[in-house]
């Protein structure tokens, strides 16, 4: 991983930079840390609040701050900041359309060994139901930094999923990826396209490479970071000739996959959608993220088997 970077650092180093240059940035944490945040706390103690383990209060306090011109960045673990505070996000942030950045760490099986209470499999599906909310899913340091850098230009609430641990930068083929809402990682002409979102994109690429070493195929591969509003209009022309979409996500079907199904309905050839997802159930297992992915069929070798069937 030559150019890999710790993902929380990628996000918070950028946030700290934004926050240091504009005193409207206020950071709230539900007793959750990151190295860069400690620096911000030391440099700007009046604009950093560890609010304790009280996510509902954190969300509504951020709404009050944003109502008077602040740009709060609030930080917690995925299921708690999303599901526990869902009504606060819906009414206090989204109904009021306030520019609060919700930073959610713990996508998929990030907190694998912590067990089912800490898995981030349901959050995107829940957030999908919230009007006015933007959902952004990070897959590499580059898009993670982008989400942080856009804090002051946001006009409504954002739910930003950031990763934990190092990931390398993806190689993008579309220079306007930031505006597009997705990154083209392979622009082949095959009638099967592969879509993915989040850190699992790296596993997908590994799987795809192993398949193409023996199978001659050239697919369009797209990592979608803007999950809501889903970039239907920009994806449609890319996928107009596609007959099959393979979609990979370390989450339940209620999440990003719901948007991929809508997308397929809009396309002229009504492509079949092959989903490589996490089966909707509770995983009462204490295991590493790799082992959890193995358990649900999301290891590169398992993904490659499905790719082989469909490419």
């Amino acid at each position: 991983m030559g150019n890999s970077e710790e993902m929380r650092d990628a996000f918070f180093n950028e946030i700290v930079e934004v926050g240091n240059s504009d005193d409207r940035v206020v950071i709230l944490s539900a007793d959750h840390g990151a190295e860069a945040l400690s620096k911000f706390e030391q440099g700007s103690p009046t604009r950093y609040f560890n609010i304790g383990i009280a996510e509902q209060n954190m969300v509504s306090v951020s709404a009050g701050l944003a109502a008077f011109g602040k740009y709060p960045v609030i930080y917690g673990i995925s299921p708690f900041v999303s599901l526990r505070a869902l009504e606060q996000i819906t009414l206090d942030l989204a109904a009021m359309n306030l520019p609060v950045t919700i930073v959610s760490v713990g996508a998929g099986f990030t907190y694998s060994t912590d067990g089912a209470t800490h898995h981030g499999l349901q959050d995107v599906g829940a957030m999908m139901t919230v009007p006015n909310l933007t959902i952004l899913n990070s897959s590499d340091p580059q898009n993670t930094r982008l989400f942080a850098s856009e804090t002051l230009s946001s006009t409504g609430p954002r739910y930003v999923r950031i990763e934990k641990g190092p990931l390398r930068n993806l190689e993008r083929r579309n220079p306007d990826w930031a505006e597009d809402g997705f990154s083209i990682l392979g622009n082949g002409q095959s009638t099967t396209a592969i879509l993915s979102t989040g850190a699992i994109t790296h596993a997908l690429l590994e799987a795809y490479q192993s398949v193409t070493s023996t199978l001659k195929t050239d697919s369009l591969i797209v990592d979608v970071h803007l999950l809501k509003p889903f970039p239907f209009k920009k994806l449609e022309p890319l996928l107009s000739d596609v007959e099959k979409i393979i979609f990979v996500d370390e989450g339940y079907a209620s999440g990003a996959a719901s948007q991929v199904l809508r997308l397929a309905q809009m396309l002229p050839k009504r492509p079949q959608v092959v989903e490589i997802l996490v089966e909707e159930k509770f995983y009462f297992v204490g295991s590493s993220r790799q082992e959890m992915r193995s358990l649900v069929g999301l290891q590169p070798i398992q993904i490659s088997e499905i790719l082989r069937l469909h490419l």
């Binding site: 969300v59 306090v61 701050l65």
Partner: protein
């Protein structure tokens, strides 16, 4: 203060008549918990203590009132109409496909924040008070809650936070009418002492008679001059359905409609209070 109080008694009476008429016209509404907060609203909006008539485009030059007990929206609308912030005609259109629903939204002029789901307003108010402190703007934030609302756990997350942050400019008012939809709070799920509960969370807690304008004005004035120390909570001991004899202290008037005969009696009684 006495002439002010005398005037405000009339103001309260006018607000009550507006509430009754709007609910009569709409066919139903949250009467009990609206009538119990009329003196509080009157003191906040017309007591000369807070800057309540500023436009929303003037964010640093006004004080903030949040109706966290959103089901009393009609009481807020009647107050806003009395203050000339919304047109009185709007009250007659309550629940009829226009701007006013039973629970208020920020799209209504003069309404700072959407409410209707209980247990949000105190956290939002704490965030606003924090923002005002960061801006050194000197603005005050008043959050009116129901006592039944205090069953929500998020209220206590907010209470703990506001006290820890010493949000002096934040004043919570608890409409302690003692009744929720299905009966007395102390029979259904006891609060014990509401005052000592807030004190134990680190608040400056005081009890007032929710229908005594002089007391409310006095305590709001004291609050408005505080420069440091914990946030303030006024436990406003009130009477659900205040001002109308057949609603007074009756849980069944939490929500409902009025017959023409009931409406006439209620309007007469409310007018008599002002006359006396």
């Amino acid at each position: 203060m006495n002439s002010l109080v005398d005037n405000l008694v009339f103001t309260s009476s006018r607000i009550r008549t507006k509430i009754l008429r709007a609910v009569f016209d709409a066919g139903k509404g949250h009467l009990g918990g609206s009538l119990s907060i009329v003196e509080i609203l009157t003191a906040v909006y017309f007591g000369g203590i807070f800057r309540m008539n500023q436009t929303p485009t003037d964010p640093r030059n006004r004080d903030i009132f949040l109706l966290s007990k959103g089901h009393a929206g009609i009481a807020l609308y009647a107050t806003l109409a009395e203050a000339g912030i919304i047109d009185e005609l709007e009250l007659g259109r309550l629940n009829k496909g226009f701007l006013l629903a039973e629970h208020p939204s920020h799209e209504v002029p003069g309404v700072e924040f959407v409410s209707g789901s209980l247990g949000h307003g105190l956290s939002v108010g704490a965030g606003m008070a924090l923002s005002h402190r960061l801006d050194s703007s000197g603005q005050k934030t008043i959050v009116l809650m129901g006592d039944g609302e205090c069953y929500e756990g998020s209220v206590w997350e907010a209470a703990q936070f506001a006290a820890h942050q010493e949000l002096t400019s934040l004043c919570a008012i608890v409409d302690r009418n003692g009744l929720i939809t299905h009966g007395p709070t102390e029979d259904i799920n006891r609060f014990f002492s509401m005052k000592s509960r807030w004190q134990s969370f680190g608040w400056r807690a005081l009890e007032v008679d929710a229908h005594n304008l002089e007391q409310i004005l006095r305590e709001l004035t004291v609050f408005s001059k505080l420069q440091s120390g914990p946030p303030t909570v006024l436990i406003a001991n009130s009477n659900k359905g205040q001002g109308v004899s057949f609603m007074s202290g009756k849980a069944e008037w939490h929500h409902g409609g009025l017959t023409a005969e009931q409406f006439e009696i209620a309007m007469t009684e409310v007018a008599e209070v002002a006359g006396g």
